[in-house]
Symmetry: C2
Subunit: 298 residues, 2 copies
């Protein structure tokens, strides 16, 4: 198994554009707008998790690349739509003007739609490669379905709606916040791990441990992000800090303060590490990933 985050990331970056189906020349604007946001940087956390989970379960990560790219298309579409004037109205993302600042909100909406659709198109297309192997077809369908559920109305979209509604409510609660975080960011991170495990052919026990890891990682990731929005350096983060407070966003920090947030992040990190403790050295990659996340916030 590859132990290096950046090796996985390189696999994604190399294939992210050529997985997109050919777009007729007259729609070069659409292609350019999609490409702009796909290539605006980003950690590629979700696709890396998918590839690593696939290998962890004994699969070949190269065959999982289309699924990994699909996850990044979905994540990128969600950022483009989140940034729209009708939603968070953000002007800067990863150190660059947001999609709608460059292409206008109409094209940005469609670039997001195009990316979401492309994710599924790519995953269906990939199933044709295993048409003579029903077992592989089933693994692919399970993986794609996990991604669809994570991205959809019982996952990410539900979280985005709750997040948007929470901006207009007087008082937030930790219950509402956890619902938002489990769905808005957590569901797709969980789906990344789940899909990778299906593709790699994991057994039920590994599935259970790793999904517990993924859920804690997802929550930790969001709290780390909230902490960095207060403490971070805009130049390093590539986005304006203090945006959450400006937008009256419901975050763990705004509800519980910085100390409690750092404490909660530590707990979640520990839960994630504990969930995969049985795998000892085989799970170094996943352990380092969540520990580094916590370190980033000091």
């Amino acid at each position: 198994m590859i132990e290096n985050y950046n090796e996985y990331k390189k696999m994604i970056d190399e294939h992210l554009m050529d997985c997109i189906p050919a777009v007729a020349p007259i729609s070069s604007t659409l292609y350019e707008a999609m490409k702009y946001s796909l290539q605006a940087g980003g950690k590629r956390l979700r696709p890396v998790l998918l590839l690593a989970s696939c290998e962890f379960a004994g699969g070949d990560s190269r065959k999982a690349i289309p699924y990994a790219c699909a996850l990044e298309y979905i994540h990128t579409y969600s950022l483009i739509h989140d940034d729209l004037p009708a939603m968070d109205d953000d002007e800067l993302r990863r150190g660059k003007p947001t999609n709608h600042m460059v292409y206008g909100p109409g094209i940005a909406t469609l670039a997001g739609d195009g990316l979401l659709n492309t994710a599924f198109e790519v995953m269906y297309k990939n199933l044709f490669l295993v048409f003579d192997d029903p077992a592989a077809m089933k693994r692919g369908i399970k993986a794609a379905y996990a991604i669809a559920k994570g991205a959809g109305v019982g996952g990410m979209v539900a979280g985005q709606v709750a997040d948007l509604e929470a901006e207009n409510t007087e008082q937030g609660s930790n219950e509402l916040l956890e619902y938002i975080q489990l769905n808005k960011t957590g569901a797709l991170i969980r789906a990344a791990v789940e899909a990778g495990l299906y593709l790699g052919g994991a057994d039920d026990e590994m599935m259970e441990h790793m999904l517990s890891y993924a859920e804690n990682l997802g929550l930790a990731f969001q709290i780390a992000d909230d902490i960095l929005d207060v403490r971070g350096n805009a130049g390093e983060l590539g986005k304006n800090t203090g945006e959450d407070a400006k937008n009256d966003k419901l975050t763990y920090v705004s509800l519980n303060g910085m100390d409690a947030s750092q404490q909660r992040l530590h707990e979640l990190t520990q839960n994630a590490v504990d969930a995969i403790a049985d795998y000892y050295d085989n799970a170094i990659f996943f352990r380092e990933l969540v520990l580094n996340l916590e370190k980033r916030t000091y």
Copy 2:
């Protein structure tokens, strides 16, 4: 084969809401916003075409219902996004306020995203029902892939981008217009027929004839729509007429005048009828469908 459009339409209307995956109660807004547009009326042309094509090829239309619903989710999402202030900025659709007029543009954007995602989620879920039947799995994958391609960046989304861009150009051409119409409306209508034929197990010859029918139907449908925007009665249509001219929309009527448009509609109708002439009485349903479309415009 069912010969009656409304019987197919009833099958869709009955299942359109229960195909949507359960949405947690906290996101009732999302569910309500999706439901609002799904139940705002509509002809259900695309899902009806899918069910009828499935039966025409010898399949069981009841098993095709999830795919038919998926098409209607995709069509509905495209209308919600098209109507947004960032796009066409329409206030009325099918005689009712558009989604964003009721729920605001943020929720409307997410309701559209949710519907697009749900379409794919439902089609994946349906594949689990045929896990022990690799041939049925392949038919389902081919159908879903046809729908994904029709909806995506080589189909409907490309047409929407070109349409949006055409509003800001000085001079339109018939080439550009045909590109827009083939993609913006044509691609999903073609995909409806293609997916239905795959599900029903059509042979190559039937596929060829029916896709030629579908392409001519798609173009005819769009020109009929353009004619009705000039000539129609707002009350009967459930939307404001004269909107195309007001928005400087590129349409066949605006480019070529009313007489040439009626003539072109007649040609396309005849092409569609000719494409399925070999099937005599077996194709009555499809022949009537396109002939009634032309009649509506007199």
